[in-house]
Symmetry: C2
Subunit: 143 residues, 2 copies
Amino acid sequence: MAGNQYRTNSRTKIMAYLTANRDQAVSVKDIDIHMKEEKCPVNLTTIYRYLDKLEKEGSLIRYTDEGDKATYQYVDRERKCGEHLHLKCTACGAVVHLDCEFMDEISSHVLEHHGFLLQCRNSVLYGLCEKCREKAQKGKNTD
Amino acid sequence: MAGNQYRTNSRTKIMAYLTANRDQAVSVKDIDIHMKEEKCPVNLTTIYRYLDKLEKEGSLIRYTDEGDKATYQYVDRERKCGEHLHLKCTACGAVVHLDCEFMDEISSHVLEHHGFLLQCRNSVLYGLCEKCREKAQKGKNTD
DNA sequence: TTGCGTGCAAAGGTTTTGCATGGCA
DNA sequence: TGCCATGCAAAACCTTTGCACGCAA
């Protein structure tokens, strides 16, 4: 499927950025800035098209919180992200995979008690990761 | 807070539509269409401004899934929607409030096992409600 | 009359599309 | 050479903002 595609400088660098940030959701703007810093500026269209391609291939999860703009996260395709929920930190964008046994309990409860068949694909729980929680604690009186 | 506002035909009809669909998330476009059907067309700006006002008052939840457009749901302000998760049907937009004891288990697990402090405010789980699941079952071989 | 509500037009931002050019294999 | 990738410009889309007018109280 993903065989007939060319290896270009742009795509290599974008992919490197995505994999380096695989525990985080990044925006198109993030990528744009990064590419400029890398002295390899690319058109926004190119970024959108590449991300779109990767998402269709299943190499990326696309998050549509934030309302105005989407964010993306690289995932190994073997990770079966369609079968568990994700926790996304609203402060830093870090993403935690909820791929533990508790996942089954959630699905079961929701189905049995609320008649709801959970689809993990787009479901994201938001909150604060440990690091950002600690930061928030410390910085309570600063701004 | 919400005292000094006038009662207008437009707002009355929009509010009626929202409360009539309180188990569902509706979009601005939905409201626009409804108002035209009601022979009471309003400018989109008016809809946005009113929804914005209601959201700030706490009478509406604003969902930002779907990526491109927001959807809104009326809630009684006593319902404390900031303290529980919501299940939204991807087929019909129906919304179920997860305000049961299991909610505590989710919060606890996520915090203790993943170091994550859950924020229910924007967290939405997606899936199929009972009705739509049944429909999907029956209509499996149609398109 | 006062000041909130509304419509209109314009602008902002993100994302998509068409077309011609450029570059990998 | 053949096809994919890219850049550029323009458009589509949702949403916000400014300003003047209309209308409820």
